[in-house]
Amino acid sequence: MTGLGSPVQGVTLYSFTRAFHGRQIDLEGLIRKVAADGMGPGLEIIGFSSFRGFPEVDDAYVDWFRGLVDETGLVLTSCAVNTDVGIRRDRLLTDDELIAYMERQISAAARLGFPLARVQISLTPDAMEKLLPIAERLGITLAIEVHAHHHAHHRLVQALVDRYEKLGSPLLGFVADWGTTTTGLAPSMVEAYRRRGASAELIDAADRLWRDYYEAGPPVDDASHGGRFGSFIELAAKNGSPELGIDLAINATGLFGPARVESWLDLMPWVRHVHGKFFGIDESGEEPSVPVRELIALLVGAGYNGAVSTEYEGWHWNYWDDAFDIVAGEQALQRDAALRAGSGMQVDPDAARRQLASHFGLAGLPG
């Protein structure tokens, strides 16, 4: 039995996509702001979003980046990499080409100082087995993100668990994304659909259909997911907004997963990193559609000492609120939830660095 965990607070720069893409703040500005505003110490970055020329990064760039992170006192937690099988126009990449493509990204993540590379569930157990020697050589953890519509008990996730058990490496695991285990559609998304012309009838019907699926539990395979996806498209057409159908289907099934919070428990031995996915914070400081308090309590109770990257995704539709304030709101909620669970979020950079080194089984983390 482990003691209570104290997850490391942190943020992914993905939360600030609108500000970065809109050239309101650059990478250095974002890193300094995360540190100055107390949104760290954990820092997660998507390679292709933030690093120009990724995965090709030269020594001078690596030195600049690691120096900046050291100076700010932040602690690198995860570098998200992508399974770009479709970069050629004549055909998909072959297996060998894809492994080489992934190796370049994973190697860049390691050189930049990240202890973990987030990979996507489009990689199969065979791919993970082929990538393991690369991870061992670089001393970096590879963690597949479990994101809605997938969940801990989905067939694809179970196949990965089986292979992980067979391989028995501490360098293979999962990133647990909280969008997998939500309790309803986000009010800010509903407001965005209203602004785009959705009738009150459509909004009510979508909410009822989502709740029916929540009661039924998450889809166990992709065929079941496909059926649900189609049902949201039909619903929009029947309620006078066919143009919103596919968008609604993608969001309702792909961002708002209906799995139960407890379902993470079976995956906890393999969870190496967490995406504290959320969509907004209401006037009372709570998240209306993601059960942040229960999710933090589960991590604390399971003895989890890895990082939670606050991941704000409401920016897809909410262009009217400031993402920095919303992120601060979710982190305050996480801290309160951890206290009430008898522990606390780890916000001290030095303690976080030691804790993550132990979590990843490393002698020490850079910086």
Binding site: H21, I46, T83, D84, V85, S122, N251
Partner: protein
């Protein structure tokens, strides 16, 4: 593609469908430049991450209802000007998240006043493979702006 990458299940969707993301940024505001009988406009990537330049499939531009002739179009990215047909080979070059793709072509416009600029972009998203192949997003936007003259 054999055993190592799964299809993402988007098969109920057709290839033109993706969630809204930052498609409201498709056209760089006030970037229209009128230069004699040619004009240019800056286009922004409507996605949260960079993609290889080989994913740029097609661009069309219309100003005040006049179509920019496709054969006359040139595309400036990373400091180099190219024709659209050169892009499929560019698997090792990126369209970065904060960069503009500057599109220029034959278009006789009246300088001065406001112009209605319409842009359509077809872009492949290389990590999302559906039952219909690699996902291609098809984004359009119209913006009104004054044109600068060169």
């Amino acid at each position: 593609m054999a055993g190592i990458a799964n299809e993402v299940c988007l098969d109920a969707a057709d290839d033109r469908s993706v969630p809204r993301m930052i498609n409201d940024r498709l056209i760089e505001p006030d970037s229209l430049v009128i230069d004699g009988d040619r004009a240019s406009i800056d286009i922004r990537i409507p996605w949260y991450r960079a993609v290889p330049a080989s994913c740029i499939h097609d661009v069309s531009v219309r100003v005040d209802g006049e179509v920019m002739a496709p054969d006359s179009m040139r595309f400036e990215l990373n400091g180099r000007e190219r024709q659209l047909a050169e892009f499929p080979e560019l698997v090792d070059e990126s369209w970065f998240t904060t960069d503009s793709l500057r599109v220029s072509g034959d278009l006789a416009l009246e300088p001065g006043g406001e112009h209605e600029v319409f842009v359509n972009l077809k872009l492949f998203i290389p990590y999302i493979v559906t039952a219909h192949g690699v996902l291609m997003i098809d984004e359009s936007l119209e913006l009104t702006m004054a044109g600068a003259t060169r």
